[in-house]
Symmetry: C2
Subunit: 277 residues, 2 copies
């Protein structure tokens, strides 16, 4: 279980102190943090909680919205907000800030994509100075219009390539990329730029573009194969189990964590004998 990380959204009803304590109790060494839950206790308290419990942040979710368009409408200051998120990640010791780049603004898809490249240019030096890696996460094409004009791993690598790999990386989230006929080549090409791996499954047929995800094993994704490709490409860091699912959220979070660990062990984790990072 050395690579397992609990992405906080999987135990959505836990506060940050509850989630950190829950991880420590379950022997989970990593947690993927969400900014809203961090903000409830403040960054300093959150950092102290992590230290006290011996739990490390695998990432902070999230900055971005660079197009100025999100699912809830216009986003006022995406650059300023993402700079603040970079500061938070640095203070929390989170090595990666996950970026969700935003949806289509003004009906202009090519223009919205250009805006993302422009925002990266502004923010990469700021992130580099603070030792925080930016993690570009392509989202499933079904979310292109309202959440992310970044749709494929290849496109993420194209965006990241002008920057050193320790400054701008890419996130492989299974739900978003599993269907891609170029995924093998794209993961190989991403190589050491891979800054995070998110495990979850897709429910079939998809009941909802956002919440239609399941625990690994509940859908068609071949997790061992995808994680194997990423590991072979050079990613040996934590694997966040990140599940948006209303039924899972309705269960006691401690049970949801236990189910996530079981699903990870059964369907995701590398076979026994795999060398430790």
């Amino acid at each position: 279980m050395h690579r397992f990380s609990l992405n906080q959204i999987t135990t959505k009803n836990w506060t940050l102190p509850e989630a950190v304590a829950g991880c420590a109790e379950a022997g989970v060494e990593w947690i993927g943090l969400w900014r809203d839950r961090v903000a409830e206790v403040g960054v300093d308290t959150a950092a102290a909680l992590l230290r006290d419990h011996g739990v490390r942040a695998s990432s902070l979710c999230r900055g971005g919205s660079f197009t100025g368009a999100g699912p809830d409408g216009p986003v006022a200051d995406p650059i300023g907000d993402t700079a603040a998120a970079i500061d938070e990640a640095a203070a929390l010791g989170a090595p990666v800030l996950v970026l969700v780049v935003g949806g289509i603004a003004g009906g202009d898809l090519p223009g919205s994509r250009a805006a993302v490249a422009g925002a990266l240019e502004q923010l990469a030096p700021y992130a580099a100075e603070r030792g925080v890696r930016l993690g570009l996460e392509p989202l499933h094409p079904v979310q292109c219009a309202e959440r992310s004009v970044l749709c494929t791993l290849d496109q993420a690598v194209d965006l990241a390539e002008p920057y050193p790999e320790e400054v701008v990386g890419v996130i492989v989230d299974e739900f978003h990329v599993w269907w891609d006929p170029r995924i093998e080549a794209a993961i190989a090409r991403a190589g050491r730029r891979i800054a995070g791996f998110h495990a979850c499954d897709q429910l079939v047929p998809l009941p909802d573009p956002l919440l239609g995800r399941g625990l690994p094993g509940e859908g068609p994704i071949d997790h061992r194969r995808l994680l194997g490709l990423a590991t072979e490409a050079g990613y040996t860091g934590p694997v966040e189990v990140e599940v948006f699912n209303a039924a899972l959220w309705a269960r006691p979070p401690k049970e949801a964590l236990a189910s996530a660990i079981t699903a990870y062990r059964t369907h995701v984790a590398e076979p026994a004998g795999t060398p430790l990072p």
Copy 2:
């Protein structure tokens, strides 16, 4: 309106005789046929109806399910069924048979994709002999698991490339491919392999992976740009307006056709002055 074609699904409640008469009355020269509606009257009657009304088939929908897995479960004889569809297309004078290749069988995505290539190898000579072009239609990745392991236009061109372009073509359906960051390059690469163009929009947020489509203009797709790219690449054939939408289907089909024509003229059709094919 010389390129406008009514895909029958847009007026789902019309029988074939009603749809053909409706097209003739509205001055529509093309129709995209569906096999279930053709079967209700028989192929010979359908062919005679088309002749009598001066309406031509732009395509026949559909063959495929080559993986053996469809949204309603296993498909018994996809090769035999598609061969029958090729015969029907020939008898109807439909130049193209649209192929939807099928979902994941046995949890094996790479194996399912290989099965599609194998089926094409079996069927391409049969189609060539009968003068029917096979039209590989990539579907939106949201339908990968249950309907189509063929997810991108590039992947369709890869599959088609071993065959002459007049034997195996590809279908550009806006709903399925508009988000693709490689769409410009993929359409240019497809070139004269493009065997059909389907216009519709995506509703945002997507209410349903199958029915969440709208008339052109109701969503984020830049139709004029996509059709312009396809036309520039060498596709000058009919443009089917194909809309899966329960609210549209609940309206009188004659009104639905009128709305489709208006949406096509307003949002899709090439600007006045474009040379005729």
